[in-house]
């Protein structure tokens, strides 16, 4: 745990990626294989199933610290990180632990799930007492499952690749899918010719950047494949050895949630992997994404919901063909093979290729994207390989302009993480019969200087407090941008928007200039 807590500290205390990778390599080379496997498991964002409610954990931390609950709340607001708050409040450390990470995870952490609260409390408190401050913090992060440390997956892949003497892409692939963090797994990961251990293993997703600058700069339209950009669940459908697996981009195995796609899998030839977007679909077109959320929310999928919200896979790429990895073939080839193997009248819908003779014609089509219930276009170079992760150059998303409204800042609360103690989380209101009603929350879009200014404004203009939430004098106007809008009885304004963020601070506008509920209802159409 000593080395692991030090690794955490080393990663946390530098902003240079090369220093981070160097720290990872140092740790991975020195650590026992099972510790290295666990470290990678946590660092790429995997977490054990929920061990215990964080409410309990806070209670025990408060008891150990000898402070009342309300004071824990004040501290949390200042720190903006639950695990860190608990670590900072513990009595000064008397010792530190020399036990390895494997011991702390397998013998101390995971068994917490199977015991009652009283035993858990005793074990957690005893763990805190065996550790120093840095270790307590790392341990609290492991328990709460919020193990983010400022290294991207890509940096971890780079470090492991360096240790294994292979490429980050190969490591990324080997770390997909289901695996157990064991010494055996670590050895296989480093082995030159690792056997294909996991039948269900997906490929790392290829991701697109938003288009920057003008579309004409992409050159000859003839070199590009243009598709509609659907808003669904990005997924890979895998058919191997007569079994079907469906992986979401969040690396979750979601096969059981989509019986339609399991049925589709059975129609596909052996050794096939298709990349696409899962969408609720009826009469040849997508249903609103809200319908999908209704379906995802269900534990049990009855015949009613399956009939109301059927799904399809809008397939747009072929990654494995006849059991062979075909990611290094050009897109045009992959698409052609995908078209050949698509079973007719099935839950596989080939992503339509948009035909146009010029970029201008596409730009005109793009204006009707909303009516088609798509978010814009995907632009893919016909020669492009299927690459790992987010890359510039070959794949672009060309999204439609977001909706925008002017709204007034009415509530603010402190942020978390690096925004701890600063008022960065805002609620905006719009006018409804002469009153401001809460309309949307937004956290992003301002630069550091603007955040400082809004923070100072909130401190000077708080009119009422509800716990951490400050009601402020309605004075500042912001232009909010968002992607989607739908009626929602659960929101006070009767409207829910998708991905709201601050597009601009409208210094030139007064609160009275902000939009009204009627102008926003008109967007619903």
């Amino acid at each position: 745990m000593k080395d692991f807590a030090e690794l955490y500290a080393a990663l946390d205390r530098t902003t240079r990626t090369n220093d981070k990778v160097a720290a990872l390599i140092r740790y991975l080379k020195a650590a026992p294989p099972e510790d290295a496997a666990w470290a990678v498991h946590f660092l790429i964002g995997r977490r054990p199933k929920r061990l215990l409610p964080s409410r309990r954990l806070a209670e025990w931390a408060v008891e150990e610290a000898g402070i009342p609950d309300w004071l824990f709340g004040e501290c949390y607001q200042a720190v903006g990180d639950f695990a860190e708050t608990m670590a900072l409040l513990q009595p000064p450390a008397a010792t530190s632990s020399d036990r390895p990470l494997r011991y702390w995870v397998e013998d101390r952490l995971l068994p917490l799930r199977d015991v009652d609260d009283q035993t858990r409390r005793a074990r957690v408190v005893s763990a805190w007492r065996e550790m120093d401050e840095g270790q307590r913090f790392a341990w609290n992060k492991l328990i709460t499952g919020e193990f983010r440390v400022g290294v991207s997956q890509r940096l971890v892949f780079r470090a492991v690749a360096e240790v294994a003497g292979t490429t980050p892409e190969a490591v990324a692939h080997r770390l997909m899918g289901e695996w157990q963090p064991t010494a055996e797994f670590w050895r296989q990961l480093l082995a030159e010719d690792a056997p294909e251990a996991d039948l269900s293993r997906p490929y790392p997703f290829c991701l697109a950047y938003p288009l920057e600058g003008s579309v004409e700069a992409l050159g000859d339209l003839g070199a590009w494949q243009v598709e509609w950009k659907y808003d669904g669940i990005r997924a890979q459908l895998i058919r191997r050895q007569w079994q079907t697996f469906i992986w979401s981009r969040g690396e979750e195995l979601v096969t059981g949630r989509f019986p339609e796609l399991q049925a589709l899998g059975a129609l596909l030839p052996e050794g096939t992997v298709i990349d696409g977007e899962i969408l609720p679909w009826k009469q040849g077109g997508p249903l609103p994404f809200g319908q999908m959320q209704r379906r995802i929310g269900r534990k049990l999928l009855g015949p009613k919901i399956l009939a109301e919200v059927p799904v399809v896979l809008v397939g747009f790429d072929l990654l494995e063909f006849q059991g062979e990895d075909v990611r290094s073939r050009p897109l045009a080839w992959r698409r052609a093979e995908l078209e050949k193997l698509a079973p007719p009248a099935s839950a596989l819908v080939l992503s339509p290729v948009v035909e146009a003779t010029s970029w201008e014609e596409l730009a005109r089509l793009r204006q009707h994207a909303r009516a088609r219930k798509v978010e814009g276009f995907m632009l893919k170079r016909l020669e492009s390989l299927y690459r790992v992760g987010r890359r510039r150059g070959d794949w672009w998303k060309w999204k439609i302009e977001p909706y925008s409204v002017d709204a007034v800042l009415i509530y603010a609360q402190p942020g978390t993480g690096r925004r701890a103690g600063l008022f960065t989380d805002y609620t905006f209101g719009i006018w409804d019969n002469g009153k401001l009603v809460p309309f949307a929350k937004a956290y992003s879009g301002l630069d550091d200087e603007e955040i400082r200014q809004v923070d100072a404004f909130v401190r000077r203009n708080t009119i009422e407090k509800f716990g951490p939430v400050h009601a402020v004098k309605p004075e500042l106007v912001f232009e909010l941008a968002f992607e989607g809008i739908q009626a929602s009885p659960r929101h006070r304004s009767g409207i829910a928007v998708r991905f709201p963020r601050m597009a601009r601070w409208r210094h030139d506008k007064k609160p009275g200039d902000a939009d009204t509920i009627d102008t926003i209802r008109a967007l619903l159409r």
Partner: protein
């Protein structure tokens, strides 16, 4: 308030804490006739008043803030003066050079205004002196139990380790610290044999005033006179971080020496490599101990996390109340005078 004439010794008006019986303000926010100044940081010493009273150790640094012409009366720690109907004396607060608590007495009734203070020892200023009083006005910059300072000697060792590690990588070590107080406390504690030490002009000006009063600091060179930065320690005001000034140093690592560095988020949002937890303010145990040692009947809490400290004291049987500062919850480090 407990007093025998019906009028409290101190009250708050738009210019700050005012003593009517003595006709003076303590750390006024605006320009007034007579200002008693606890120390020369910009959030306590406002220029423009007609006359100032401060502790003798702090005269030179206050002069640098308020200008060469203004009358400043300097008094030794503990020396009693009569102002109007009250006796007043200044006592060490341990915050920075010349920082003082203000003790006001009228007919056996004693009030103490702490200004900013710390209980930990500091080679650059006189140690905090506990005073008994009926009313204690305390700061609360770090008034939450998450703020607990490590031993300063451990922190200095950590700074040395960081500096040496940067030397190995041929990097400069840029250490941000408040140019009045923190910078000198660090310079009085670091080991100059590790490598050359350069300073920003704002720091160097204060170094000069400190040295004139016989305080021994590590030898420093104004950064304008330097040229080779790899392996050097460069001490600068935090406001230089991310500015053009910083970019002349080639490869470098950044660190900030402040109590705020106890919180990771505070360091990460400034994109600093390291945070060294060393503060010139009392931590939570320090605040509680200082309050207890005054045996005050009433505690007024100002500057910082007022509400939590007041509530904690009230829950522990202490009469306590929050006194408005400039505005609600201004918590970050005070803007420091960087200059060229």
């Amino acid at each position: 308030m407990a007093n025998n004439r019906g009028v409290p010794l101190l009250e708050l008006d738009p210019n700050g804490l005012y003593c009517a019986a003595g006709d003076f303000y303590i750390d006024p926010w605006g320009a007034v006739e007579r200002a008693v100044v606890t120390h020369a940081h910009s959030d306590h010493a406002t220029p423009g008043s007609q006359a100032y009273l401060t502790a003798r150790d702090g005269e030179a640094v206050l002069r640098a803030r308020v200008g060469p012409e203004v009358p400043i009366q300097a008094t030794a720690y503990g020396e009693e003066l009569t102002m109007g109907g009250v006796r007043i004396s200044l006592h060490p607060a341990g915050h920075v050079l010349g920082s003082a608590q203000v003790r006001i007495e009228r007919g056996g009734e004693v009030w103490v205004v702490s200004g900013d203070y710390k209980l930990a020892s500091d080679p650059t200023c006189a140690p905090f002196e506990p005073l008994r009083c009926q009313v204690f006005v305390t700061e609360s910059t770090f008034g939450l139990p998450i703020f607990r300072w490590p031993d300063a000697s451990q922190v200095i060792s950590a700074i040395h380790a960081w500096w040496r590690a940067n030397q190995q990588l041929r990097r400069a070590s840029v250490l941000f610290a408040h140019p009045l107080g923190k910078a000198q406390r660090l310079l009085a504690s670091v080991d100059p044999s590790v490598g050359p030490i350069y300073t920003h002009g704002a720091v160097e000006r204060m170094n000069h005033l400190y040295r004139e009063q016989g305080i021994v600091l590590a030898p420093t060179t104004h950064a304008a006179a330097g040229s080779c930065w790899a392996g050097a320690l460069i001490v600068a005001p935090p406001s230089c971080h991310g500015t053009a000034w910083e970019r002349g140093f080639g490869e470098f690592s950044t660190a900030f020496a402040s109590g705020w560095m106890r919180i990771r988020g505070a360091r990460r949002r400034r994109s600093l490599d390291r945070g060294f937890v060393i503060s010139d303010h009392a931590d939570w145990p320090g605040l509680l101990r200082a309050v207890e040692e005054t045996r005050a009947d009433y505690v007024w809490v100002t500057h910082g996390y007022r509400a939590p400290l007041v509530r904690w004291l009230a829950e522990h049987g202490q009469n306590a109340l929050a006194v408005e500062g400039h505005f609600e919850g201004e918590r970050d480090e005070p803007a420091e005078e960087a200059g060229p």
